[in-house]
């Protein structure tokens, strides 16, 4: 059965924020699943709700005043929204952990690296200082940091950017989570370091058989690492498919646009890089009908009138939110 293989199921997730300018729906009816040992890519421009989705899974937002969740998140069959908030701590860092975009701001500047790696070990396993130190060294070795026994006594600002990212991965892996959420883990890094970090994540995913959600704005990164990919636009999923399907047979105009804007070295002529015209509309002003219509060169009146649901189309598991693509017009 396929169902048993699912590590995480997100069903119809809606996240609403109460802001000074009223309620903003940052994520609107998002559904996807992550299988054991799979790397799922979530792709989209900044502000499309991909980070909000990931932080909603961990329930990191202040639910008393700031954020409201609707829908369902099942982690190994257990509904995360139904457990009391204090219990959520048992999941964070233990079963689900997270890598942030910018390691320099995500690591606490006033504590040593060792202290920050030991912390989840103490919280979740009550590991004593010596044992935790040993484990920390082991983890630093695992993420490829040379001379770990010296590094653990250093502060974040004493390391290079790539090192810091590795440290953050080590912290996330400390308790051997079953699901790792990597939120743009390489955006803040140099290109060569980016490749190293992505390789590390793929390698760890295979070695430890953990599910990974890789959030990125870069389809090229997805091509190299993921099994399946979800494309988000303005709080909604517009297309979902396996990586090969997305690259061979992209259906949604937005996905096509994203693909066209990847620079290709193999191109013989130096073509101008494609850019999707316009900008992402504000969340406070979501257009009626198809949310991408304003920037879509295929859009017509019907697109602006009617809401299209995400529908299966084409190859196995390929879904798209565009009636023209479904009917095969474009």
């Amino acid at each position: 059965m396929e169902k048993n293989n699912d590590l995480l199921i997100v069903e119809n997730l809606t996240t609403t924020f109460n802001t000074e300018r009223g309620k903003l729906k940052a994520v609107d009816g998002v559904s996807f699943n992550v299988k054991n040992g799979e790397i799922l890519g979530i792709v989209g421009e900044s502000g499309c709700g991909k980070s909000v989705t990931s932080q909603s899974i961990m329930r990191l937002y202040d639910e008393k005043k700031f954020a409201e969740f609707k829908g369902k998140i099942l982690f190994k069959g257990e509904s995360l929204f139904d457990i009391p908030l204090p219990k959520m701590r048992n999941y964070r860092g233990e079963k689900i952990s997270m890598i942030f975009q910018d390691a320099l701001s995500a690591l606490n500047p006033v504590f040593t690296i060792g202290e920050q790696i030991r912390e989840p070990l103490w919280i979740h396993h009550r590991m004593k200082k010596d044992a935790a130190k040993e484990r920390a060294i082991e983890l630093l070795t695992l993420v490829g940091i040379p001379d770990p026994s010296k590094r653990i006594d250093q502060y974040p600002h004493e390391l290079s950017g790539g090192m810091r990212q590795r440290v953050m991965i080590a912290i996330a892996l400390a308790c051997s989570p079953e699901l790792l959420i990597a939120d743009e883990p390489t955006t803040a890094l140099d290109v060569t370091i980016q490749a190293q970090i992505m390789d590390l994540i793929v390698e760890l995913n295979k070695k430890l058989n953990m599910g990974v959600i890789l959030i990125t704005h870069d389809l090229a990164v997805v091509a190299e690492t993921c099994n399946r990919v979800v494309v988000m636009y303005l709080g909604q999923i517009v297309e979902e498919a396996t990586v090969t399907e997305i690259f061979d047979n992209p259906m949604h105009p937005y996905t096509k646009g994203l693909l066209q804007s990847i620079p290709r070295i193999s191109d013989e002529k130096q073509e101008r890089l494609f850019m999707i015209p316009g900008t992402v509309p504000l969340l406070s002003n979501v257009p009626h009908g198809c949310r991408f219509a304003e920037r879509c060169k295929y859009a017509e009146e019907a697109c602006r009138q009617n809401n299209q649901d995400l529908e299966s189309c084409g190859g196995a598991g390929h879904k798209v939110r565009c009636w023209k693509a479904i009917k095969g017009i474009n």
């Binding site: 997270m98 690591l107 912390e119 989840p120 912290i171």
Partner: protein
């Protein structure tokens, strides 16, 4: 570190120089003959001349300044113009109540301000946050001596829980000591509680919005630990800055509070010296306070490096 310390101490020399000149020149801004002013209207010409000689007013100011500075650098603060007692002895005799009062005031301020400021930031926008904002506004607007008077009316006159005035040395009983010191310390410390509360709340609000706090949360850190450990240490730099300043202001502000509560400290010494126009004493106390102020600032700067490893002191 040592090099930094040395550089910092070197940098205080011009400031100390200015301070010493300001304090030294005080005698020269007295309208008329200082000796005549000190001795009052009924003094004889001989007495005035004797005092002028004793104070060195017949010498030109510049050599007199260096002479004065030289004496101070050798630890000689001179003698009281009023009764000839060495100023150092007078200060030593009365420093204890002042130090105890200021320290107690600061402890009270910290005990009130840190938890409340942090709580307010953590519960931003709730009634507790508003209450803290109101308290800190009141604290800033209520002059300490006025708060002292109100406290006497309530705590000593109405409730009779505390003595209306006076000081009980530590050696005569811990309970009595703190009982006598509580109201003055509260009056002196309240404004500092307000200031520290404000800065703690504002800084913590900023820190709570950082990525490393979200990261810590994603590790499963308990909310209390999140604030008390991860956020707290990061709020300390601005907070200890204001604690350092507050301590000096409390120490000098005890002049007024000692007058309200009849505490025989350095403040009373100053007030008595004011009415006796005993410039030697006033100059010495002010100079020592400025020196202490500069030292406290230096210590605060050194603490930055201890708290935040990013601040490198050896550069």
């Amino acid at each position: 570190m040592l090099k930094y310390l040395f550089k910092r101490i070197l940098a205080t020399i011009p400031v100390l120089f200015i301070v010493s000149i300001v304090i030294f020149s005080i005698v020269y801004i007295i309208p008329g003959d200082p000796a005549a002013v000190i001795l009052g209207e009924n003094a004889s010409q001989e007495d005035i001349q004797a005092l002028r000689t004793r104070m060195g007013l017949d010498e030109p100011p510049i050599p007199r300044y260096f002479n004065w500075l030289d004496n101070i650098l050798h630890g000689d603060l001179g003698a009281s113009t009023a009764n000839g007692t060495p100023v150092a002895t007078m200060i030593a005799n009365q420093i204890k109540p002042t130090l105890n009062l200021a320290t107690f005031a600061m402890l009270l301020a910290l005990i009130i301000a840190l938890p409340l400021g942090m709580w307010a930031a953590y519960k931003k926008g709730t009634w507790i946050d508003q209450a803290v904002t109101v308290i800190s506004l009141l604290g800033i607007s209520l002059p300490s001596f006025l708060l002292g008077l109100f406290l006497i009316m309530i705590g000593a006159v109405k409730l009779r829980w505390f003595p209306v005035s006076g000081y009980v040395p530590f050696s005569e009983g811990i309970g009595a000591h703190f009982n006598a010191l509580f109201m003055p310390a509260f009056a002196l410390g309240f404004i500092h509680a307000a200031l520290i509360m404000r800065i703690t709340r504002a800084t913590l609000l900023e820190v709570l919005n950082t990525d490393y706090i979200r990261m810590a949360k994603s590790k499963g850190v308990h909310n209390f630990v999140l604030v008390a450990k991860h956020a707290f240490k990061n709020t300390l730099v601005p907070v200890i800055t204001i604690i350092g300043q507050s301590f000096i202001i409390a120490l000098s502000g005890s002049t007024v509070i000692e007058a309200v509560f009849g505490i025989p400290g350095v403040g009373s010494l100053i007030v008595n010296s004011v009415s006796r126009r005993d410039y030697q004493v006033i100059q010495s106390v002010v100079l020592l306070t400025a020196l202490l102020n500069i030292t406290v600032n230096l210590i605060v700067d050194l603490l930055y490096g201890v708290i935040d490893p990013r601040i490198r002191l050896d550069r």
